[in-house]
Assembly symmetry: C2
Homo-oligomer: 352 residues x 2
């Protein structure tokens, strides 16, 4: 991704430091957050300085490396077990987090500190690189579904910022755009945190792709009028049967898209697939603070960030962060290995 | 409705002045807005100081009375024709507006100024009173659908504030509550203007009814889990075939409710039914300013009202204010004359 004429990744590691585009400051301010310890990296995931399944996974991998660097030489393995538990507890839904920490945990099992630092660092950097290459491949496969002149709706942000680069749901759109295809993107604002209005719209501006933000309520209005040709969303976890956990509201869109015969694609690397999870029923759903619904932040007229209470003071809110879309609503899953149907037979072929 | 221990109506007229609960200030400030001219009343409808089909209709009726008072004695009828056109142009979707202005226009046709002021005033006051009685009757009919212990979801605000009192969608809930039935209300925040989070939640607090605000995205999540027993919404216009125009997002909920076999009721007085409108396709849908999506207002930490930009600066937004739910998704229409199916045969019986 190019921001202000310079190439960036969403997350990268140098020495013992992890660098993250601060997604809580975007789109109003472009700031790089520096995490110096694994504890700070956990906090960065919890507070959503970094977010999106892919970016969470890579950040978690780097956090394991930081933990290895911070661990005492004696009692190293016990420290790492506790540290990896803490990293795994930062957010419950995205599979990529557990995929990354497990890969590294397996690789450093039995190693002493010096070797473990070296091995974890190499593996975490490799996972970050793979994340980029997978996202790029998703873009190429997904591009085959996009015809010139299409209007595409997307929910939340599964773009650059949800990965190390390129993204999942937005990657096919970027590939198509670079090939010269014309598109118009309907961007669900994605309440309560507004990742669509804030992050996806910001990415599309940077890429120069025509778009409009719509209230999440307006999706069916445009589908009913035949103005949406396709929907592409990302995923936080995909069960073996093809059920997809993704940002709250994805389920509504999946049902509505089916109702209006709008193809509904999910784009995600195979690291998002939890092949040991039989169906969506087993995916844990994170409940987040009611303040995300009740309080909004943004720029006031003087250009300062302000938080305001937007609901009736005293009324509580419920805030599930994800929902599960049953496989029957999904037209296909776009992975770095190709496009498959959302069913166990097809999904298993990705792991052969 | 009782606010701070005192009985209020949402809109009333005394002398030449129309008094309105200022719904742009709620829930943060309870203020009565005074409109002294029909032009000010038009502005109050346009800027949504008053909103909701019933309240718009009654305010429009009072605006016609103000126009009659302001009109010159000579050229009276021509002035009124122009004034009523301007009132009708204030908002395009709610049928109650046209119902009220047409009723009064028909009554004053051919009258001179003195008689017209008297006739319009009596008729507008009668329409306001009918609005209350109809809302109360809707509450009684709708109450028959509510069982003790139910969880009910509602969208937007079709409560006290959308009518002169009681409301439509919320009136059955208030009647059930006063009878001692326990309920829990899921309140869709109703982006972009947040009438659920701001107005419905505020009303439910005043009535002491347990509730939680949810992002509009979360409706399907709770229906999938079987946690919603019924949905009740209001309407801005109902076509002869039972199609219902209501706040943007109603269509999504209607489709999802059908998918999960959740009964989906529309509550509205017969003045909301446009029997001359064959289907939802003919209902004009208002497009409102993109700022309603991009800018949010609320209370800052010091208790001052602030507006902030919540989306990527420079990205545009589309903002349809209403959508049309086809009759096939609607379990029934709760009117002041009883509950009917959403089909032409049943709807016509209401006009016999």
């Amino acid at each position: 991704m190019i921001v202000n004429g310079k190439h960036y990744k969403t997350v990268w590691m140098e020495g013992s430091k992890v660098f993250l585009i601060n997604q809580n400051k975007l789109p109003f301010e472009f700031e790089i957050f520096t995490s110096s310890t694994y504890g700070e990296s956990i906090q960065a995931i919890k507070t959503m300085i970094t977010r999106g399944a892919g970016a969470i996974g890579v950040t978690a991998g780097f956090a394991v490396v930081q933990a290895a660097m911070e661990a005492p030489s004696n009692d190293f393995q016990a420290f790492m077990t506790r540290a990896i538990s803490a990293i795994n507890a930062s957010r419950p839904t995205a599979n990529n987090l557990f995929y990354a920490t497990k890969k590294i945990a397996d690789a450093i099992k039995g190693l002493d500190k010096e070797w473990a630092v070296k091995a974890s660092s190499e593996l975490a950097q490799q996972l970050a690189l793979e994340n980029i290459l997978e996202a790029k491949a998703i873009g190429e496969y997904g591009n085959s579904l996009i015809k010139n002149g299409m209007s595409i709706e997307t929910h939340c942000n599964a773009g650059w910022l949800g990965f190390v680069d390129y993204g999942s749901a937005l990657s096919p759109i970027y590939t198509a755009h670079r090939e010269g295809k014309k598109m118009f993107i309907y961007v669900d604002e994605t309440r309560p945190r507004g990742q669509g209005a804030r992050l996806t719209a910001w990415e599309l501006q940077n890429e120069g792709i025509p778009h409009a933000i719509i209230a999440d309520n307006a999706g069916a209005f445009y589908m009913q009028r035949g103005e949406i040709d396709m929907m592409i969303v990302g995923a936080d976890r995909i069960a073996a049967n093809g059920d997809v956990a993704n940002k709250i509201g994805t389920l509504e869109k999946a049902i509505i898209a089916k109702e209006y015969n709008v193809p509904f694609y999910v784009a995600a690397p195979t690291s998002t697939i939890d092949i040991n999870c039989p169906s969506g029923k087993e995916i844990p759903i994170e409940m987040r603070s009611e303040d995300e619904v009740l309080v909004q932040s943004g720029l006031d007229q003087d250009g300062n960030m302000k938080s305001i209470h937007v609901a009736a003071p005293g009324s509580p809110a419920y805030n599930p962060a994800f929902d599960v879309s049953p496989a029957k609503y999904i037209s296909g899953i776009i992975t770095e290995k190709g496009i498959v149907r959302a069913c166990e037979d097809d999904i298993r072929t990705l792991f052969d």
